[in-house]
Amino acid sequence: MSIKTFDEINEKIKKGKAVVVTAEEMIDIVKEKGTKKASQEIDVVTTGTFGPMCSSGAFFNFGHSEPPTKIAKAWINDVPVFGGLAAVDVYVGATERSETKGIEYGGAHIIEDFVRGKSLRLKAISPWPTDCYPGKELETFFNKETVNEAYLFNPRNAYQNYAAATNSSPKTLYTYMGVLLPKFGNVTYCTSSQLSPLLNDPYYRTIGIGTRIFLGGGIGYVAWQGTQHNPVKDRNKKGIPLGPSGTLALIGDLKKMNHRFLRGSVFEGYGISLFVGVGIPIPILDEEMAKFTSISDKEIETVILDYSVPSRNRPVIKRVNYQELRSGSVEIEGEKVPTGSITSYLRSKEIAQILKEWIKKGKFLLTEPLEPLPLDTVFKPLEIIKGEEA
């Protein structure tokens, strides 16, 4: 039974009277006052995360050249971009790498440079000129001011928990979880844990399609459940999934974003990713939401996987909580192994703080989801089927 509605909270926000705290601050508030009192006093809890989210990218529309030319095959700063859309739309995938610089520059860096206001070089060819698009090729420069639309559209962001990584083999491994040193030389993990959006609303009661969010320093929206959305993952007693589960597809105006919260990045020996800053406000509708948002690192658990096994089913080395991971070391086979975060906790906190200020100042209103995220979809593997069977 709700004690507050989205509308009531928004009325308070408009009047500058809403009580807003970050997910980190909420832990102590609930500890001190209990869930009932906290749910009455607190209106909104803000979350934040800033980590590499490979399944990201952006759409650009350049306008038409003279003579009109279909941007069929295209490169931005030597990085191939997808032109298999209408004439002058392209999609820049974050992980695409430069044909001249390899993994040192890629789609994610294009997105960052664009946000920084830099000029970017567009090269396009039209192998099949038509009566309506007679041009065969073009080369030019563009920036924030010259393009029509530029919007981030990320198919999978803000993973609800993620497995930590280690390496039992005698060889250094280069992965999207960073450099994994030989013989359990380190453990890396990738979530803002107690500040993470979907870990503070584990059953997606308030986060759904249409939710307005902080995205890359600007405003964005939840467009859909993310790809590989897997809400049925095993959960602990607190309802926290024990590994990668729910995901979000996010959309937002790239022109209004800030490179502080959108950064191209390189993972040695692996490739390119985009650090995306995401902050989601959670309305404290009732006691249950106060309880969910008071979750702390100790109550959030994950597993450490051994990345030396080249299989989609990697062996679990052990189950740990984020208090242990964030302490700087965990014990594996009796040895202290240093841990390293990939998500920036400091900047995740900054995002939750900024979103809190926006809401307190009445600049940011909450949206009730148009549709909830599914709670029953399953993340299926890809089976290799031989030609004759297909």
């Binding site: 800033f50 980590g51 590499p52 040192e104 960073g178 450099v179 040193l181 380190n186 453990v187 890396t188 950064r263 990045s265 390189v266 993972f267 040695e268 990713s273 650090f275 700087g328 240093p338 841990t339 390293g340 975060s341 990939i342 998500t343 920036s344 906790y345 400091l346 900047r347 906190k349």
Partner: protein, 133 residues
């Protein structure tokens, strides 16, 4: 005193046992932290030298006379704090804990502990750590 230095050996003296003389003639304790010597090219050595101040200075002067370039280690490391995204990837790969996160989750870089192994340079996703010899 203890001093950490980067020595640059021009190709013509790369093959000479110069560090041996630091031990034998100047009675210094030396610890080779990193060596990079390729045939026909400049050699580089990251060295920790320990001994009485006077002896250390004499030893380094000897190296200079033999044509070895000397640089204090601290000058060779550059972490661009403004562009750093404070993720923490470097912390888990740093073998000497020169890079660490404090309780507020801010990145600390203790140059005294750095041995210039360059693991962090390659591991840094934002490419903000540079080691310039």
């Amino acid at each position: 005193m203890k001093k950490k230095v980067v020595l640059t050996f021009p190709p013509k003296i790369v093959t000479q046992p110069i560090t041996y003389h630091l031990v034998k003639d100047f009675d210094l304790i030396i610890n080779i932290l990193r060596a990079q010597v390729e045939e026909g090219e400049t050699g580089r050595l990251v060295l920790e030298v320990e001994g009485p101040k006077e002896q250390v200075e004499k030893g380094l002067k000897y190296l200079e006379e033999r044509g070895v370039g000397i640089q204090a280690v601290a000058r060779d490391i550059n972490l661009n704090e403004e562009e750093c995204i404070v993720c923490g990837v470097c912390v888990s790969v740093c073998p000497t804990h020169a890079l660490s996160l404090n309780k507020k989750w801010e990145l600390l870089f203790d140059k005294e502990k750095c041995i210039l192994c360059e693991v962090c340079v390659k591991a840094c996703p934002a490419r903000v750590i540079e080691v310039a010899f």
